[in-house]
Structure formats: C-alpha cells, structure tokens
C-alpha cells in the first residue's frame, strides 16, 4: 500500500482529519482513565469481609431507658439468650460494630506506651467468646476468648483488656517477622495488650479511602459494650433460614423487653444489604463510568462513519477513475482502511499524552493511583479496532463504486 498518495489526499481534508484524530485522542484519554477508575472501584467492592456473609444479619439495638452499666450488661445477656433460643438462629454475639459498617471505632496502635506517632490504626471490635464463631471468622493461630475474660465497658469508661485477637494484616504490620502470637502492643492504652489469637481476614468497619493504608487491620478485644445508648447484635442464621431469623429476631426481642428501639430503616440489615450500602459510591461510579465509556465509543464510531461516508461521496469520481485505471475492489477498500489507520495512529499518539495528562490531574486532585501501562495499551487497541470497524462499511461502499463513475460529472 502506498502511503504517499493517502497523505497527499489527507492534506486536502485537513479539518476533517484533525477532527477525527482529535476525537480519537480525547476518547482514548477518557476511556483509559474511566476503565481504570472502574477497575479500582470494582476491586474495592470485591474486598473480602472475612465473615460468613450469606447467613449473617445485624440488629442495631438502642435502649429505650437509661441503664447503668450493670443493667445494660444484664439486658444484653438476656437478649443474647433470647435470640439463641430461636429455632432459625445458630449463634449471636454482642458487639459495637461489624465489618463494612462504614466509619466506626478504631484505635491507634503503638509499640511502646509513650510513642508519640502511632505505628498504625486498627478497627476496634468489642467481642465475646462467641464473636469469632458467630461471624465465621477463621482463627489461624492461637486461641479464642474464654467467657471469663469478657469485661463490661460502661459509659466513657476505659477498660484495657489484657488480651486481643488480631487480624493477620495487623499482625504482619506490627510484627513483620510473623511472630505476633504472645507479643504485645498498645492500643491507646497505658497497659500492654497481648496477642492471643490471629484471624485470617476481618475487614475493618470503615470502608472509606481514609482506611486504604490500613486495609484489613483490625482487632477484637474481650469487652461487652454496656453503655446507656445501645449495642449491636450480630446474628448468624442456620443455613437457608436467614429470612426466617430476620423476621423472628426483632419480634422476640420486643416480646422480651419493649423498651428498645430498632430503627425500621437501618436497625435490621442483612449482610448482603450491608455490603450493598458500603460500596454504593463505588458501584455508582463504576456504572457511570461504564455508561460514559460505552456511549463515548459509540459516538466516536458514529462520527468516523459519518465523516468517512462524506469523503467517499465526495470522491466517487476519483474512485471511479482509479477503478477504470485497474484498481481492484481490494485496493479501494484498503485505501480507506489505511487512511483511517493513519489518522487513528496520529490520534492515539496525541491521545497517550492526553491520557497521562488527565491521569496526572486525577492523581494530584483526587489521589487516584498512577495509570498502569496496560490500560493505555488496551485503550489503543480498542480505539484502533473501533476506527477500523467504523470505517469498514463506508470503505466497502467505496470499493463498490463502478468505474463508469469516472465519466460522470461530480
């Protein structure tokens, strides 16, 4: 294929050529960055919680009366017993929060009591001896809590538990040599806390970008949240009986003691709903970017079809002349395909610069990470194929122009 005559012809259609190239360049920049954002959001949504999501639900229980620490602790034990008696319930634990809750309670962690800047930050779960088994969290080293280790935590009290179970991510952050078991640390406490168990995965309560540098770092301490405001019950239903358990549990609680508040909107949530809510922003962003990418590619393709069709119409006579002089269908077809390829190549060349420019702006403005090269390469391939695909129909039409056109006036 001779490129020289194509370039000569393009020089006579500067505006159209530049517009197509520009459109391809801009499309590449947007599509690459959007796909990257989609990928990041989807991988955030895929984060494992470490718990048995299919069978869990959460009751956010607030007390309707002002209880003292002892009263609240007693009420909690009654509630837990009530819930455990339900035929559809396998187990129950009382806690302050749950993975993927959003926000929540976290404590800074230090290696010495007077260390000024914290080593890391860990999501702080209050749990009893059935916390791990109820949630279905996998203990990979050490032991679970004993019932006698669990202490009450009253209003603005500060109880430092002597022991804690930590997630593997936290254990590795604090003790990179893998010997966390039996070692101790400080979690905003003046007394040390000893690691007695390590669990595989226990997602933090928080899901925001603030937590990104502390991903998976959480700890469970043997405390019972006996404060006047309320407590959170995590209930594990027997397999396949989640709906029954969710229907029966609030009824049973109200029947036992009606001076409580379970919010009709947020008070009773299945874990599926919790996951859905936690990643609402990410899903929305991914969907929006996906729609924009799809429509953008369609519009760019349509634009190429439109402009090339116009060029074909304009050059019917010249095509006729070439055909009369012996050019085959294939020659004409490949002429237009090559022409598009040249424009597209120019477009993606500018586009690569725009892509990294836009990415750089997103990185500085929104702390997005740097775009991997594979996305740009993928984007280039997509756009080149898109261009070739879009130009094929008009080019085929051009190749069918009969040689007789050469004799007709334009």
């Amino acid at each position: 294929m001779h490129i020289q005559p194509i370039l000569a012809a393009l020089r006579r259609h500067k505006a159209g050529t530049i517009l197509i190239a520009l459109q391809i360049a801009l499309t590449l920049a947007i599509v690459c960055n959007s796909l990257f954002i989609i990928h990041q959001r989807l991988s955030h949504m895929d984060e494992a919680s470490g718990v048995d999501e299919a069978n869990l639900f959460v009751i956010q229980n607030m007390w309707g009366e002002q209880y003292s620490t002892q009263q609240a602790a007693g009420r909690i034990q009654e509630d837990v017993a009530t819930l455990r008696q339900l035929p559809s319930v396998q187990d129950v634990t009382a806690t302050n929060q749950y993975p993927l809750k959003g926000g929540g309670w976290d404590n800074f962690v230090t290696m010495t009591p007077d260390q000024r800047t914290a080593t890391t930050d860990a999501s702080y779960f209050l749990g009893d001896a059935r916390f791990l088994s109820t949630l279905g969290v996998k203990l990979i080293a050490g032991r679970d809590f004993r019932p006698d280790e669990v202490q009450n935590l009253g209003l603005r009290q500060n109880v430092t538990p002597p022991v804690a179970i930590v997630s593997k991510a936290l254990a590795d952050k604090l003790f990179p040599h893998g010997d966390a078991l039996g070692k101790s640390f400080y979690a905003m406490s003046s007394a040390p806390i000893t690691v007695i168990g390590i669990v595989d995965v226990l997602h933090r309560a928080d899901v925001s970008s603030w937590s990104a540098s502390y991903t998976g770092e959480s700890m469970v301490v043997p405390l019972r949240l006996a404060v006047p405001s309320g407590v959170c019950y995590i209930v594990r239903a027997k397999p396949g009986q989640l709906a029954d358990a969710m229907r029966e549990a609030p009824k049973a609680l109200y029947a036992e003691n009606r001076m409580r508040m379970i919010d009709p909107k947020d008070g009773l949530l299945s874990f599926a709903e919790i996951r859905h809510r936690a990643f609402e922003r990410d899903r929305g962003m991914a969907v929006l970017m996906g729609i924009i990418c799809a429509v953008l590619l369609a519009i760019t393709a349509a634009g190429i079809v439109g402009l090339t069709s116009f060029w074909v119409g304009q050059r019917r006579r010249q095509i006729g002349v070439r055909r009369a002089l012996g050019a085959t269908h294939g020659d004409i077809l490949s002429y237009f395909m090559t022409e598009n390829l040249l424009i597209s190549l120019a477009g993606v060349a500018i586009g690569v610069l725009l892509t990294f420019g836009l990415n750089l702006w997103l990185v500085t403005r929104f702390t997005l990470s740097v775009l991997p090269l594979t996305y740009v390469l993928g984007g280039i391939v997509i756009l080149l194929l898109l261009g070739q695909g879009a130009v094929f129909a008009p080019a085929l039409r051009a190749s069918r122009v009969p040689p007789i056109e050469a004799t007709r006036p334009a």
Binding site: A15, G16, F108, S190
Partner: protein
C-alpha cells in the same frame, strides 16, 4: 429572515436523517451527561447559608500537637476544656457549641414502643447565629444556658410526629426518662450541606429532631452520639475524667461581623494557645485556624470526590460530542457547496451564508437540547443508582436546569458550527458553477 433560515435548516436536516440523528443524539447525550452530574454537583456544593457564610467561623486550636494533629493541622473540633474556655472568654459577638445526641422518645399511648430521636445539644446563640426560623415560640436565652435549664426546641417535623403539628410551646416532654420544657418549634430548616456538623457527618444525612440546652445535656451526662477523636493513651475512667481528656467532640462556631473582629479573634486564639503553652498544657507553639463557612466546607471535603470526578468526565464527554459535531457539520455543509455557490451567485453575501448555516446549527442544537432534556429527566431517576440516596435525593430537575440544558446545547452547537459555517461561507461561487 431568521425564520426563513430556520426553515431552510430544518429542510436540510430532513435531507440526511442519519447524519442529523447522529448529531442530535451526540449533543443530547453529551448535554444530558453533563447536566445530570452537574445537578448533583450543584446540590452538594452550594452555599448553605449565603447571607452569613462570611461571618461565621470555626475556631480551631491545636490541642494535640505535632505528630498527633492532622498532618500539621489542628483537629476539626474542640475538647471540653478548650471549648468551655472559649465560651467563657466572650471574645466573639456570638458563639455556640454543638454536639450530637440520641434520645428515646415515647409516643403518648401506653402500648407504643419508644422511638429514637436525634438532635443536637447547643448553646443559646445557635438559633440567632444560623438564622433558624421559628414556627412557634423561640430559642432560649444566654441566661438559660447559665442556669442550665431543661429547655428544648423541636423541629416542625418532630413536632408533627409527637404533637400532630399543634403549638406545643410550654408543654413538657420526656426524652430518655428526663423531662424537657418545649420553648420553641423551628420551621423547616435543613441547610445542605449541614455545614455546622460536617466534622463527623457527611452533611447530607437526616435532619435533626430537636435542639437541647448543652449545659443541661452535660449535667445529664448525655453521651455524644457523633464523632469523638482522642490521641495518646486514654486514661479517663468516667464521664468527669472524660471531659478533662484530650478527646475532641464539641463543634464550636463563632460569629464575627467585621474583618477587624476576625483579626482580633485570630489574635485571641493565638494568645489563648500561648497561655496554654505557658501553663504547660500544650508542649508546642500556638497553631490556631479560623476558617469561615466556605473554607470550612472546602477543608472538610464536603463535596464527594465522586461528584467532582463525574462532573469532569461528563464535561470531557460533552467536549468530545462537540468535536464530533464539528466534523459532521463540516461534512454536511460542504456537501452542499454547489447549493452555496448558486446562492452566492444570485447575490447572497458571505455574511448571509454564515448566518444561514449558524441557524441550521442552532436548529440542531435545539433538537439536541430537547433530547438532552428527555435524557436528563430519564437519567435523574437513575441518579439513585449512581450516588448514595442521601446525595441522590438532593439532585432534581427544575426549570433552571431545563433552561440550562437547552441553552447549553444550543450555545455549544452554534459555537461548534463557527468553523464549518465559515468554511461554507468561503465557497467560491464561480468555481462551483464552473465545475458543474
């Protein structure tokens, strides 16, 4: 003349339905994407209290010091000791302290279950500082703050739920087992974002049910239901010790009328911090800030990054649609070079050709705008899928948005048509006539 050009434009558009549809759809999609994301952005980035946003300030004191503060910035709220010291100093014309509380309310019939209600513990100036409108009664006075009375102001929504909307001023109500005297019912007032509580909350969640006297809430040890942030080893063992701790949880606001007042208050914060350093409470140099409402919202990053990114991406998308339109208009106009030649030969000036083609573009723009309005309305119902409900419900279609959609579509298309129309106007009549 314009009507005639418009008629010509519509006729020409009918001649290539494919190309026209393509342009109209491109503009429609581009403008709709921009408008949907803009409507969300508009909803979250507005000035919540335009009449006073430059007179209201957040005093920030670094009570944590280097290594513990927020990357050099003071914490976003005050601890009890500093908050009370600022209140007592009376250095601003008005000042309030705010914290979130959650109380249980028992509706009157005996068999009902308690319902949770959320509100704020505030000081008297809250209502005057933020121009809270009242339906019945009023807020309480500074003297009531000092006497630590059990006064409460209900919001009209909560008053509706608890008293069926009747004037409840003077009545008494029980919340979490304690009696409160209702002194006022506020008219619907829910600034978006809720600027006075964006340290711990998004600023777009459910509005409060009531406001209670802060000093009384402290006396009752009503726990803070909002954000609480502490540093170092926690040593408190009970409520009173908690109040003396370095935990920050009280949101302070001051009203300062003139720039001289602002400068004076800034100096006061510095000197207060210096005093604390001298007294040995702070082991570091004064580090105080005094942002106004706008700066505070910026600092707290109240506008979700998702909203900004999607607006930017949608605008880029619109630009690409316009580039696409330029190319298609160019193709469309140049295809009619012969026609232009005839018109020019019959005496039409370049100017008239130019005007005619811009009008044609305007017709495309109008059609694109109408498609855009339809897509915006349709897309708006899908906003709930893209953003969190609390933010999505703020976005809505109104007359100004529809108007903006149409204007943006027409303006952008006409702007895109400048170059193609100019090229059309340049057509040489003699050359066209000869070649035919």
């Amino acid at each position: 003349m314009f009507a005639y050009y418009l008629q010509l434009g519509v006729r020409s558009l009918k001649r290539n339905p494919m190309l026209t549809t393509l342009m109209v759809m491109a503009i429609g999609f581009g403008v709709a994407a921009s408008m949907i994301t803009y409507s969300v952005f508009r909803a979250v980035s507005g000035d919540p209290i335009p009449e006073k946003s430059s007179q209201l300030f957040v005093p920030q004191i670094d009570s944590w010091g280097p290594g513990r503060n927020e990357k050099g910035e003071p914490p976003g709220a005050l601890n009890y000791v500093d908050a009370m010291a600022l209140m007592k100093a009376h250095q601003a014309s008005r000042m309030t302290l705010i914290y979130e509380v959650m109380l249980s309310a028992l509706p009157h019939d005996a068999n009902s279950v308690p319902v949770s209600s959320e509100g704020y513990a505030v000081t008297a100036d809250f209502f005057t500082m933020f121009n809270v409108p009242f339906l019945y009664g009023n807020g309480w006075s500074n003297a009531d703050d000092d006497h630590r009375v059990a006064d409460i102001v209900l919001t009209s929504e909560f008053n509706q739920r608890m008293f069926g909307g009747a004037n409840s001023v003077g009545k008494s109500m029980t919340l979490s087992g304690h009696d409160y005297r209702i002194v006022g019912v506020a008219r619907h007032w829910d600034p978006k974002p809720r600027f006075y509580d964006v340290w711990g909350e998004s600023g777009f969640d459910n509005p409060p049910d009531f406001y209670v006297v802060l000093n009384h809430a402290l006396d009752l040890r009503t726990d803070n239901d909002g954000r609480n942030s502490c540093r170092g080893a926690i040593t408190y063992q009970n409520w009173d010790e908690y109040l003396q701790s370095n935990c920050v949880w009280l949101m302070p606001w001051v009203e300062l009328d003139t720039s001289a007042d602002v400068a004076r208050y800034r100096r006061f914060l510095e000197s207060y911090s210096a005093d604390q350093q001298r007294a040995g409470r702070f082991g570091w140099a004064p580090n105080a800030r005094l942002p106004n409402v706008t700066q505070w919202l910026e600092l707290r990053e109240v506008v979700p990054p998702e909203s900004r990114i999607s607006l930017v991406v949608a605008l880029c998308f619109f630009i690409i649609c316009l580039v696409n339109t330029i190319g298609l208009l160019l193709a469309k106009f140049m295809r009619r070079a012969g026609e232009i030649g005839v018109r020019r030969a019959l005496g039409a000036t370049r100017h008239e050709i130019y005007a005619q083609y811009l009008m044609e573009a305007a017709a495309v723009g109008l059609a694109g705008g109408l498609v855009g309005v339809l897509l915006t309305v349709a897309g708006m119902s899908g906003v709930g899928l893209l953003f969190e409900p609390e933010i999505a419900r703020l976005a809505h279609v109104d007359v100004s948005l529809v108007g903006l959609t149409l204007v943006a579509a027409i303006f952008a298309t006409v702007a895109a048509a400048f170059y193609p129309a100019w090229r059309a106007a340049l057509v040489q009549p003699a050359w066209q006539l000869k070649s035919n």
